[in-house]
């Protein structure tokens, strides 16, 4: 039943959730949900620029996402409120991106493909980019796992023990930009943040340690990708949004179960 493009789609989705699960946990723990969304919005500007300069979309998106993430980090240290700053940067870069795309009359692009992703059109090269990006992010996250976790628990403790929390959060920013760049093809700009946050949030009530939360989130991500592909095949729905829908349904279902279990214990 699975044609070749379905296998490629599944592999692309699995590649993204493998990196997104542990990274998404940090996004949740550090209350950076809006930060991830803002980085993704900025990616539209990256798409426009890379098409205008006829360079690889992956590189353009990576560059703009990084620029956005780093400038937000730097500006927030100067006393701007983080959420205001993100609101300004995210939406203005999205707007500039959409305006810039409209100037590209000689290039016919399907903007929808970047906003919502086109996982069924993933080619062999895309697959290579997605997996190398994901493995890079996974490696970065695992390498800095302990210091990142310490800096998440307390920046002061990290300082006292000779770590630089600023540098650790830069690692996280870099990883976030890479995930956004590789995930554009899979779920699109508007839904990347969902893939980061929803599985991690679903895993929380079932986890006693940070590691278990990341593992469970990865498992839920895999189920969402495969379930979403299956659903979109059978229901003839757009694939990226269907993947996110499955993740959301899992969240609602499992959190309700967890709530009932806890309620049953305390009564």
């Amino acid at each position: 039943m699975l044609d070749d493009f379905m296998v490629r789609a599944a592999l692309a989705g699995l590649g993204v959730v493998l990196a997104a699960a542990p990274l998404g946990c940090f996004v949740v723990w550090r209350r950076m949900a809006f930060f991830g969304a803002a980085t993704a919005h900025a990616a539209v500007l990256g798409v426009a620029l890379s098409l205008a300069l006829s360079m690889s979309v992956f590189a353009g998106v990576l560059a703009v996402s990084l620029l956005m993430a780093i400038s937000v980090t730097l500006l927030s240290h100067r006393g701007y409120a983080m959420d205001t700053l993100l609101g300004v940067m995210a939406h203005s870069s999205l707007a500039f991106g959409l305006v810039a795309v409209s100037f590209l009359t000689d290039v016919r692009i399907d903007l929808m493909a970047y906003l919502f992703g086109d996982i069924l059109a993933v080619g062999r090269t895309d697959l290579g980019i997605i997996w190398s990006g994901s493995l890079l992010v996974l490696g970065l996250t695992l390498w800095r796992w302990q210091p990142l976790l310490l800096a998440t628990v307390s920046e002061e403790l990290a300082h006292a023990e000779g770590y630089d929390p600023q540098r650790e959060s830069l690692v996280l920013t870099l990883a976030l930009a890479i995930v956004v760049a590789v995930a554009i093809k899979v779920v699109g700009v508007l839904l990347i943040a969902a893939l980061l946050i929803i599985p991690a949030a679903t895993a929380r009530p079932f986890s006693a340690t940070p590691e278990r939360m990341a593992l469970i989130a990865a498992g839920l991500g895999i189920i969402s990708v495969l379930g979403g592909l299956w659903g979109s095949w059978n229901l003839d729905t757009p694939t990226g949004p269907t993947i996110v829908c499955v993740a959301a349904i899992l969240f609602a279902l499992l959190n309700t179960i967890a709530r009932f279990e806890r309620g049953g214990k305390s009564d």
Binding site: V28, W29, R30, R31, G79, Q146, P147, L149, L150, T152, V153, S154, E155, E156, L157, A158, H159, A160, E161, G162, Y163, A201, R204, S207, A208, T209, P210, R212, M213
Partner: protein, 260 residues
């Protein structure tokens, strides 16, 4: 083990040394011209009223607070055990006590169990940090700070959340820790009553260092009295064990003896 440590073997060199440190936050001068140094085996207490810059001083010393001018030098390779005043763990982060103690270096199950037992919360490795009471939480922080046998232990209002006996035990433990590890201890407190007894040296801080020295000398200093007033007479009396000057305390003590 601690004695063979190069840092310990050289008590002439201070563990941490601050010269002319100024910290300004948003145009406000929080710390002014701080001169401070601390050597191995010393217990130094920083006292001062609320908002006098005590916590900022500790944060500057560990490098979490950038200094506007001045210099802070730390002994190379020095291990710092830091017990912050408050630690908020986000409810989205599942963290057991054992996992917390394994940050950022992992230790064997046995080492963790021993550390928790020593801190007075045995068998709590599997408990979630969020499930601990204030006092237990403070003990877990302490257990973690001691795990790597620090050269310098820094405590910011560390007796918070402990009851009276807990507080007394806590400060008695500090001297034991100092004797066992040979480490320097720098703590911040506004709990004058107990702190004075444990300290070798007291630094009285109100944005600048008003006075410092042996506890008894400091409490007699006019700068100290200007800051804390004389309503600490009772505390000082306990410290000095001077029953003639404060017969009330003595009477109360006697009553307690009779009752017991």
């Amino acid at each position: 083990m601690a004695l063979s440590d190069p840092i310990m073997a050289n008590p002439q060199h201070p563990l941490i040394d601050a010269t002319g440190v100024n910290v300004r936050i948003g145009g406000r001068q929080i710390l002014e011209n701080i001169e401070l140094s601390l050597s191995a085996g010393e217990i130094v207490t920083v006292v001062g009223p609320n908002g006098s810059g005590k916590s900022t001083l500790l944060r500057a010393l560990i490098g979490a607070m950038p200094v506007s001018s001045g210099r802070i030098s730390r002994a190379p390779g020095m291990r710092v055990g830091y017990v912050p005043q408050r630690l908020h763990i986000d409810p989205t982060l599942p963290l057991s006590v054992g996992r917390f103690l394994n940050l950022p270096r992992r230790h064997s199950r046995r080492t963790i169990a021993q550390a928790l037992a020593r801190a007075g919360i045995p068998g709590r490795a599997g408990a979630a940090m969020s499930a601990l009471s204030g006092g237990q939480f403070q003990r877990a922080l302490m257990a973690r700070a001691l795990l790597d046998e620090p050269d310098l232990l820094m405590l910011d209002e560390a007796s918070q959340g402990l009851d009276q006996t807990g507080t007394a035990d806590f400060y008695r433990q500090l001297e034991e820790i100092r004797d066992q590890l040979g480490c320097g201890i720098l703590m911040v407190s506004h709990d004058l009553h107990v702190v004075m007894r444990a300290a070798d040296r007291v630094i009285c801080l109100n944005h600048h260092i008003c006075c410092q020295g042996h506890p008894e000398a400091v409490t007699a200093a006019p700068e100290y009295r200007a800051l804390f007033g004389t309503d600490d007479e009772e505390a000082l009396a306990i410290f000095r064990h001077d029953p003639h000057k404060h017969p009330h305390d003595h009477e109360r003590e006697r009553e307690r003896d009779h009752a017991g």
